[in-house]
């Protein structure tokens, strides 16, 4: 191991480098190479010219989004929904991870984990269909049950007020299994000696959780939340579109940037306008993550992403 210099280090770290390669390749291919397409946001796209040959049209493509009068509403909806998702999902996932960690019985733990994980694999299209059968006014499960108890049926699809709760709930249900596994892995990585020492000192379960487990999870929480914040201006299109569809009555409380742009542009197929909206989301997302990282850095240098 006396070889030094660049190649010596490459050789020494070859395993780590190899493991890094797929991720680097992925982001290069799917994030950096296509980035050149951003120019479309400033172009009047036509097939003859293609991506790089089409004529420039300045900021014209952005007019649609901002002059629609909906820019503020959908941006606000997108951000608020994502904040709610981040908070609710992470709290639930951490809670479930701790419960699973503390739970006795290998079988119980495995089965619970599997059941919780299942929704993650169900496509949003299917979730949308399930929701329709639950919420339908005339024949939906919920109203059939209410009816059996002699309670007035509720009109879910025409009442915007229900939807923030429904969407947060569905999102939590779907992400719970996946997220809790990540936290569970982090908990398993905590040094068991600390728990043993705490037990000897007479700490009860709650003290162990709040003074050992949770503080040790901070780095994981901060990284996951920071990464999620970077996407705070991107609505989960699959979710919103399949749950709400084109139901105009619900738009005031459910419309996010992605569904708004899709709906407005799906008939006109103006690639430039869609590119402009995507660019707007990216810039906002970039700014937020810089800010969030800066805030974390101020508070605790070690936990910041960069």
């Amino acid at each position: 191991m006396n070889r030094s210099g660049f190649w010596g280090d490459v050789l020494k770290q070859r395993m780590l480098l190899l493991m890094l390669t797929p991720a680097v390749l992925f982001f290069l291919l799917f994030a950096y190479v296509p980035m050149a397409g951003i120019v479309l946001a400033f172009k009047q796209f036509n097939y003859g010219g293609g991506i790089f040959g089409s004529p420039w049209n300045g900021l014209d493509n952005f007019r649609f989004f901002f002059e629609s009068g909906n820019a503020w509403m959908v941006t606000k909806n997108t951000a608020l929904y994502n904040i709610a998702f981040i908070v609710v999902n992470n709290v639930l996932q951490i809670a479930v991870a701790i419960l699973l960690f503390e739970a006795v019985g290998k079988w119980f733990r495995k089965i619970t984990q599997t059941v919780l994980f299942l929704p993650y694999f169900i496509s949003w299209v299917v979730v949308g269909a399930i929701a329709y059968n639950l919420f339908n006014y005339d024949v939906g499960t919920i109203n059939s049950i209410l009816n059996a108890f002699g309670i007035e049926p509720i009109d879910i699809y025409n009442t915007p007020a229900y939807w923030p709760f429904i969407l947060v709930l569905v999102s939590a249900w779907k992400a719970l299994g996946y997220g809790s596994v990540m936290y569970l892995a982090a908990i398993t990585g905590i040094d068991t000696e600390m728990y043993e020492a705490a037990e000897i000192d007479g700490a009860n379960v709650f003290q162990r959780i709040f003074h050992i487990t949770v503080p040790n999870l901070y780095p994981t929480i901060i990284i996951l939340v920071l990464l999620a914040i970077g996407n705070i201006f991107r609505g989960d299109f699959g979710m919103f579109y399949n749950m709400v569809g084109n139901n105009g009555l619900l738009f005031s409380s459910t419309d996010v940037i992605d569904t708004f742009v899709f709906r407005s542009l799906t008939t006109s197929n103006e690639i430039g306008l869609s590119a402009a909206a995507g660019f707007y989301q990216s810039v906002l997302g970039f700014a937020t993550i810089l800010l969030a990282n800066y805030a974390v850095r101020k508070y605790d240098k070690d936990h910041a992403l960069f």
């Binding site: 490459v10 290069l28 629609s68 269909a129 919420f135 084109n246 105009g248 738009f251 008939t267």
Partner: protein
């Protein structure tokens, strides 16, 4: 220190890999460049004459495979029928054809992508409702010159009336071989005749009798939706609007994505906002009355079911569609459930009818196709060669249909295995008619033919290039404010209506109207 150094090295390696990879990326970009260049070539050579077309007939010595883009689900017996078709085509024009099918569920998203990605295909189904103007203006289709057509499509060139060619022109240029099949685009309603008789109702033939029918069904038939629609699939109107708003008032909407229309009889083509008319307000009251009487489900705008399937299952008692589809539904149910009696109801029998312009169905050549001449020859045969036309439209005789004389057919057990996709681009006078095609549908069609109203603006198409922001925003307002209002989901219709008008103004309807009027005036001045 040591640690830091190795980290730096690691970083350096990543950078190296990144450079190598982005070199590949650069190559990619280069490719896109050449592609873009290539796509320019055909349209440039258009201006001049096509070199191959110069000597009359193009060279067919080399065998080619033509790729065709069709809309609709892939038929089950595709391989059988297209195998047979290809044998014949090989003999006639030394070419075979491969079709790609874009399923009905998401064709509107996929179709433009095929062009945007410049995929390799030669022929595409297109229509005024299937991106024809859009793609033609964006340069997705090859311009078809008279020389190209007369040299490669002798049969079609002879059979197609000149007016059909003219109707297919966009800004004076032709990009499509339209179908050759005059029809009326008006809509009718399919109702449950047995239920109507059961409740002793008058025949349904006007908006009033229809309202009476749906209200009676809603009140007396448990578990049946009196009327149903797939309300929120992106269509910006109540599905009865074409009948009760357009046909009833003899208006013509210029483009279904914007609420602007003119009167059929108005020679000046004065456009107005249909939402801002007393007729629309009356219609809102009519709809509200139906909605309050539970004529349709409260969740109609979230409906995820297929309406015709619901109707077949006895869960829906009426729906609106064009006459051809309703007639096919009627024939289908007569075959499968003879005990259920359906009827086609024309709610606006005395009004003027609009003839479908030729671009209702058609086929176009992809701008970057390398086999434009051969593709045109293929379309020529599909549309006007009896043998090939029969194959393409109906499948194999004896298997997918049973020939009745030269111009009719009977459905067979195999019929469903070769249907349901857009072979309509090849519609022509050679089309066979279903021998079981309901006589009443024919009667309605014949009555409509007599009331066809031809007018100067028939072939006008709106070019929205200057107002695409406004079109997108107005469309959004229609979905968000007009649809719930029309389906009676908003309690106070006066307030809902005022909101709609106000939102439309904010979305730029006035600018849109001005632009449209300018284009119409210019169009009429050129006539």
């Amino acid at each position: 220190m040591q640690k830091k150094k190795s980290f730096m090295l690691l970083f350096a390696i990543i950078m190296v890999m990144a450079t190598v990879l982005s070199a590949c990326g650069g190559n990619n970009n280069g490719n896109t460049g050449t592609n873009a260049g290539a796509s320019n070539t055909p349209s440039e050579s258009n201006g001049n004459e096509q070199p191959a077309a110069n000597d009359g007939k193009a060279d067919t010595s080399e065998e080619v495979v033509l790729k065709m883009l069709l809309v609709g689900g892939k038929p089950i017996d595709y391989d059988v029928v297209f195998g047979e078709l290809n044998k014949k085509l090989k003999e006639k024009i030394n070419a075979t054809v491969e079709a790609e099918f874009l399923d009905w569920s998401d064709w509107t998203q996929k179709y433009p992508l095929k062009f945007a990605a410049n995929e390799d295909f030669d022929i595409a189904y297109t229509a005024n409702w299937a991106f024809y103007n859009d793609q033609a203006l964006k340069g997705g289709f090859l311009e078809l010159t008279e020389e190209l057509l007369s040299a490669n499509m002798p049969l079609t060139w002879k059979a197609m009336p000149e007016v059909a060619w003219n109707q297919a022109k966009v800004n004076g240029k032709l990009f499509m071989v339209p179908n050759n099949n005059p029809e009326v685009t008006d809509k009718a309603v399919l109702i449950r005749e047995d239920l109507r008789k059961k409740h002793n109702l008058e025949p349904v033939n006007s908006p009033e009798t229809f309202a009476n029918y749906v209200k009676t069904i809603a009140a007396n038939e448990k578990g049946i939706n009196a009327y149903n629609a797939k309300a929120a699939d992106g269509w910006k109107w109540h599905e009865l609007d074409q009948i009760l708003l357009e046909q009833q008032n003899e208006w013509n909407l210029v483009d279904y994505n914007i609420p602007l229309a003119y009167k059929l009889t108005d020679e000046k083509g004065q456009v107005f906002n249909v939402y801002d008319t007393p007729e629309f307000k009356q219609l809102l009251a009519y709809y509200k009355d139906l909605a309050d009487n539970n004529a349709w489900s409260k969740n109609v705008v979230s409906n995820k079911n297929d309406v015709w399937q619901d109707m077949k299952a006895g869960k829906t008692a009426s729906y609106a569609h064009n006459l051809g589809t309703l007639a096919m539904n009627l024939a289908e149910l007569r075959r499968e459930q003879p005990e259920v009696e359906l009827a086609i109801a024309d709610l606006t029998p005395d009004k003027k009818k609009i003839a479908a312009i030729s671009t209702q169905n058609g086929m176009a050549i992809h701008a970057t196709s390398k086999n434009a001449e051969r593709s045109l020859m293929l379309i020529d045969l599909l549309q006007n060669d009896k043998e090939i036309h029969d194959l393409f439209m109906n499948g194999i005789a004896g298997n997918h249909y049973e020939a009745v004389g030269d111009d009719k057919f009977n459905a067979t057990a195999g019929t469903p295995n070769f249907t349901g996709f857009s072979n309509w681009g090849a519609n022509s006078p050679l089309n066979r008619k279903d021998a079981s095609y309901p006589a009443e549908a024919d009667a309605i069609a014949n009555a409509w033919q007599e009331k066809i109203h031809n007018f100067a603006l028939e072939t006008f198409v709106f070019n929205d290039a200057n107002v695409k922001n406004e079109v997108a925003n107005v469309g959004n307002v229609m979905l968000r404010y007009a649809i719930p209002l029309e389906y009676g989901l908003i309690k106070d219709i006066d307030k809902g209506h005022a909101d709609l008008i106000e939102q439309l103004k904010a979305a730029g309807i006035e600018k849109l109207q001005q632009e449209l009027q300018t284009q119409i005036d210019a169009f009429l001045a050129n006539q």
